[in-house]
Symmetry: C2
Subunit: 340 residues, 2 copies
């Protein structure tokens, strides 16, 4: 049985962890791609902090690297299909399966239908599979589907998740309005044109997997106001009491069949000791609940993408979203053992 | 599209709920089987408290009812394969798919290998599927598998679940040693020959789904001693402080690959306001957690069996355990819509 050959597409924090995990599961890394001049030419092992050379020099020529031949490319570069389509198209055109962390790719059929259909066509012509995975694969889509699968009758599904704005640097903290006054926040909200929230894609995937028909799709945003002053390390400031520590996006889909699905995603500056949450509640017969305690989102983002690699290679060609893939399995052995 | 035809095999508390749920999901009930003289000849609708007649008289002749022709039999009679094989064999011999609540049937390949292999052969010859489902399908097997699927490296998996002894009448309460002194409990434990615990079957299923090799399988039992006096309604007594309120079975499998799996199942008399729990923890990279709050075990036992009906009918012939079936799905439409 030969090893799985992978290409690392994007050399940042996430693909550093993914590179290590793939190596620990017997994947052979045959190439690495980055646009950053300070990374090009350097060894992937050095850039990802592995402490040893992998004999893989980072290249800024995607076509050349993808032409080396690989079973899969692991992409960690951007969030939206508008940008992600470039990497996904290149992989498909070169006959390389690809799995991406781009959040919209978890279920892009409703938010970017044209791009997704085009990628699906190219992938089918080339005989490869394109998939979006990451933390949302299990925690926001498939574990929720499974919880729903234990209900007899569902009236509503409500999810709550959070992330710490302070973990992602000053740009993200500014985008998340950290430190703004309540008035400044409302002004920003009424004047800004923000891209679709990722919660929308999660709910689209859940609704589609059940064969339900959306009749209304809404997004509301509300500020998280801190009651006590709150240090924001990413900005080097202290947010005063009464000011904005971040905000919550509330996506909601009402279906013709009567089921309402809501997902509340909060990005805010955490207090000491706080952690990411994942909590879902179903109202119906019976009422059901799911909670994952302190969720290590960064690691589960990477571990799920890596564990998905055999599923993506095994899947039929096309843009195949995760609700159509098998139940995600732990991989005690090297990944090539799970190829069909 | 024609309705799914079902036979209700065993007319007790669980199949009363299951009968209602099947009717609400468009299943046609064509027969009902019970040995109880006080049930035979009565209408299934009357016996299951539906408040209306179903035109289905309960029969004590399984062969005659199974010869009516049905897509599936739903069995809720007993717990162990030693007894369950009788109903499962009859279904298979009459060419009727079957799904049973018998706890051992969730993964009986290691605890009753001969019986299971024989049933598998009969089912394959007849072209039908036999499956065990119930609360354990998702909460103790497949949701745990999915949680594991988000880990990079697992050292141990530990589950904790509980049930209220007071819900199941005086016989079960006596079996669970409610009210015994600590000394009487130890004497009972050392002298009794108990059947295998259901935790064993859960762990067998998890280990098998990962392709791991067990090197040791152990069960330990410890009493739950009440600190304050505790009313036990099922027995009409008050358990004094320092006496036994029930006990915990701790099943554990150590695998050659290094992973240890433990399941602690507690059956004890609850205090006012307590509910069933389901809590799992994974140690490894990363540490992971799953909690389902107050678990409505009785309803999820029935709802999962009903939602599994299309999967069992769709599955290839044989004894097919739930870790090989698709991710359990919610069924917003009548069940015949999910046949492949």
């Amino acid at each position: 049985m030969r090893k799985i050959k992978a290409i690392v597409y994007g050399v940042g924090a996430m693909n550093a962890i993914i590179t290590r995990m793939m190596l620990e599961k017997g994947v052979e890394i045959v190439g690495a791609i980055s646009r950053s001049p300070e990374k090009v030419g350097k060894d992937l092992g050095e850039l990802t902090g592995l402490g040893n050379s992998l004999g893989v020099a980072v290249s800024d020529d995607p076509a050349a690297v993808l032409s080396l031949g690989a079973d899969i490319a692991v992409i960690a570069i951007n969030s939206y299909m508008e940008e992600a389509q470039q990497q996904l198209r290149l992989c498909a055109e070169h006959g390389v399966n690809a799995v991406t962390l781009s959040e919209e790719a978890i279920y892009p059929w409703d938010t970017s239908p044209q791009i997704t259909q085009e990628l699906d066509s190219i992938a089918k012509r080339s005989g490869v599979t394109l998939t979006g995975s990451g933390h949302q694969d299990t925690y926001w889509v498939n574990m929720v589907r499974l919880l729903m699968g234990t209900a007899h009758r569902i009236e509503s599904v409500t999810g709550q998740a959070s992330w710490n704005v302070d973990d992602y640097g000053p740009e993200v903290a500014k985008d998340q309005q950290v430190g703004a006054s309540r008035e400044a926040f409302e002004q920003w909200l009424s004047s800004s044109s923000r891209p679709p929230t990722f919660g929308r894609n999660i709910l689209d995937g859940l609704v589609a997997s059940l064969g339900l028909t959306p009749i209304s799709v809404t997004t509301a945003t509300k500020p998280v106001i801190t009651e006590q002053s709150l240090p924001a390390k990413s900005l080097g400031i202290t947010v005063p009491a009464g000011a904005v520590a971040g905000f919550t996006d509330i996506d909601e889909i009402q279906t013709r069949e009567g089921m309402r699905l809501t997902f509340e995603m909060t990005g805010r500056v955490y207090r000491e000791g706080e952690a990411d949450i994942n909590h879902w509640r179903i109202e119906g017969e019976p009422a059901l609940e799911l909670d994952n305690g302190a969720v290590p989102t960064q690691i589960t983002t990477c571990s799920q993408l890596v564990n998905r690699i055999p599923d993506v290679i095994n899947a039929p060609p096309g843009f195949v979203t995760v609700e159509k893939l098998p139940l995600l399995s732990y991989r005690p052995l090297n990944l090539e053992n799970y190829l069909s």
